[in-house]
Point group: C2
Chain length 417, copies 2
């Protein structure tokens, strides 16, 4: 039976807004033999992962753990666990992933009020605060970094107002966690969802989340011990509370599994946890501030290179997401032809976008392990070559030189410091 060949994936330079390249140390960790889920060695790794996530989320929250699923599983776990049918949720939308928050909240039974600003920009926080006063929602759900448009929403003022008005504030930080500051406590965010496959640079398949006491109080009020784990004498007992509409995503049950009680729920995804544990170690060894500075520097080099090539950026530069750069596809150029050539000839992957932006922009990520000088220079040189090959006129050679100047300038600054 040799119908299916052995795995033999090509080495790619992955410059999309995720998934991005994975540190070989993480891949090695994922290849280690597994432990049972209740093996003391394994539960110690679970506890260490919770500790490290607290640092990454910049929080003192007790609960910081991964949900076993891709990033949106974390979003759904948070929303379905706190939304009681009929709860009012306000979602300010500035890209595709705002729409996803609406969709998940609606499917969880919420009455959703949404507001939308033009894609390519973000909200003035005062506009959101006004909407909060008008609609008096139970929950505000907001995207931090919109990879679809390359924009980043300021959160601090909105968080402060939500706390004052006793509204729960939920933030999708899938694109920003580990690459851009996400200050859970300082910004008064009640629950934050991160992603692994972007700036943390662990393969997709887990969604790290954190939430505070305010969320936990809501969870406890809806708590149900799983059937089959309850005292058999009380099997027919049905609690009077409105139960969470999901078993898999019921954070009150998942929390019991991550607590010292270790109440069985799912079977923790061992190798993914190994990968996340190692990815977080690498992240904290680099240090949050150094890591954010590295993301800024490579973004700057990329942006200067793109501009030197004569291409224009999509979206408001004042609110640009540092780890995603959106580029207007030049008139008359087929975006997919360029992307295919980059992949086939240069082994580089960049992204297109969604919905109204499909075919209009390219998106280049500078995230996590992929966010380095070699990759930025390689993508600039290759993009220039493909554009010239496709008949686009541009000042040859300028892009890479512009990026090199940024790096040279930064080295001087470091020396003079």
């Amino acid at each position: 039976m040799n119908k299916y060949k052995e795995l033999n994936p090509s080495l790619r330079t992955i410059m999309t807004p995720g998934p991005v390249e994975v540190d070989p140390r993480v891949l090695r960790a994922m290849s280690f033999p597994i432990l049972g889920q209740f093996d003391p060695e394994f539960t110690m790794l679970m506890n260490e992962t919770m500790e490290m996530l607290r640092d990454v989320f910049q929080t003192s929250n007790e609960w910081s753990f991964p949900v076993d699923g891709t990033s949106r599983s974390g979003i759904e776990a948070v929303l379905v666990s706190i939304i009681q049918p009929g709860d009012k949720v306000l979602v300010p939308i500035f890209g595709r992933f705002g729409h996803l928050l609406v969709e998940i909240a609606q499917r969880s039974g919420a009455e959703v009020v949404f507001m939308e600003t033009e894609w390519g920009s973000v909200f003035d926080p005062q506009i959101v605060i006004e909407a909060i006063h008008t609609h008096k929602p139970d929950i505000v759900a907001l995207v931090h970094g919109e990879t679809s448009t390359g924009q980043m929403q300021p959160l601090a003022e909105i968080g402060k107002m939500c706390r004052q008005l006793d509204i729960l504030f939920v933030v999708d930080a899938v694109a920003t966690i580990g690459g851009v500051p996400v200050k859970t406590d300082a910004w008064h965010i009640d629950a934050v969802i991160g992603g692994t496959q972007k700036c943390i640079s662990v393969p997709s398949g887990m969604a790290p989340i954190t939430y505070n006491q305010r969320i936990e109080t809501k969870l406890r009020s809806r708590k149900q011990i799983e059937r089959g784990l309850r005292d058999p004498a009380s099997l027919d007992h049905e609690p009077s509370l409105v139960p969470v509409r999901s078993n898999y995503f019921d954070l009150s049950q998942i929390q019991d599994y991550w607590s010292s009680a270790r109440l069985n729920h799912h079977t923790e995804a061992t190798s993914m946890l190994y990968g996340l544990h190692e990815g977080l170690r690498i992240l904290l060894q680099e240090g949050l501030e150094d890591r954010f500075a590295r993301h800024e520097l490579n973004e700057k080099a990329l942006v200067q290179g793109i501009k030197a090539m004569g291409l224009s950026l999509y979206g408001d530069e004042d609110s640009k997401l540092p780890c995603v750069t959106c580029i207007n596809i030049p008139a008359g150029m087929d975006g997919e032809t360029v992307r295919n050539k980059l992949l086939q000839d240069f082994g580089i992957e960049i992204a297109s976008s969604f919905g109204p932006l499909k075919g209009k922009i390219w998106r280049i990520g500078t995230m996590g392990y992929s966010c380095n000088r070699k990759n930025v220079l390689h993508v600039l040189g290759a993009l220039e070559a493909v554009l010239i090959h496709e008949g686009h006129k541009l000042p040859a050679g300028e892009a890479v030189q512009a990026a090199l100047s940024v790096y040279a300038e930064s080295s001087k600054e470091e020396v003079s410091c």
Copy 2:
């Protein structure tokens, strides 16, 4: 920052009913550099995985793919996608995981009718068929192999009757897939959920499922394109159908992602897919029949060894689940002390059980890569030694000899064939 040590897991002999040991070839596959989710090399791996899953599920269904989450994520995806609030679901329960089906169906909005038989046995199919006639459910959901009690439910007659009456038949085959025959088409099962971390021996984190045209028809009737991917002109349009209560688990959307349309949903868990792809290759290289025979042989050796030690099996032997052996803990013996000694002194993990069986039985798995002669002999010798050490009287040395006799007998049969 060296607060957290490098990963260095001990090598264990994992003889629980899952997760079990992983083939080094699978672990190696998981350590390969990742590809982007829409890279043609990656989508080819997705397609091959679907093909191989069809063989493992013994089906001609078009749809056979993994849900990105642990096993119960697959159960929830199937149930929440087909249950419209108010649908009647019949769940015959013969252990903990039957209760889980009830819990998930209820949380999905179903009116659940359940029946329970004594743990340690299964249902006479006629009893279930009578209940089907009485309750006229829309859906019957049933566990195939109950790891909590080590019992296996015959499914063929129940499936046939469901098909006749146009009832959807959903089976949880998490514990049996890849180790025991699961005949999706022959048994008229409309949707089957498998597990990776048991007889397929891939780490936990994916749930392979398959479903037929009957299920797909139901999915299509509830289909909603995700907000943010729809035509912007129709963004305010809300379909009149009852939408699936989950975005993450909406199989109509996940199916679009696995189809040639590749409509973006989640970001496929790359390294888990690498592992599953390799695990399925290994499984099909061994061949289903040879693999089932290997599971039977090692079960027989384990059972003969346990009996030779003077221990008794829990549950009805006629309906015993071949890949899980439940053993009554001898009177006066503390089950957890024995388990801890096995782990600490011999590096062997066996399991306890849940709810009413907690502290009453041990459970030993013979699943997938863990299901081999060396492991069976090791666990028998170690269990005997720990029991003697704890003061239990038993005929020393008999257990391993009984198992060796089973293996010797089987070699003779092979030679004479």
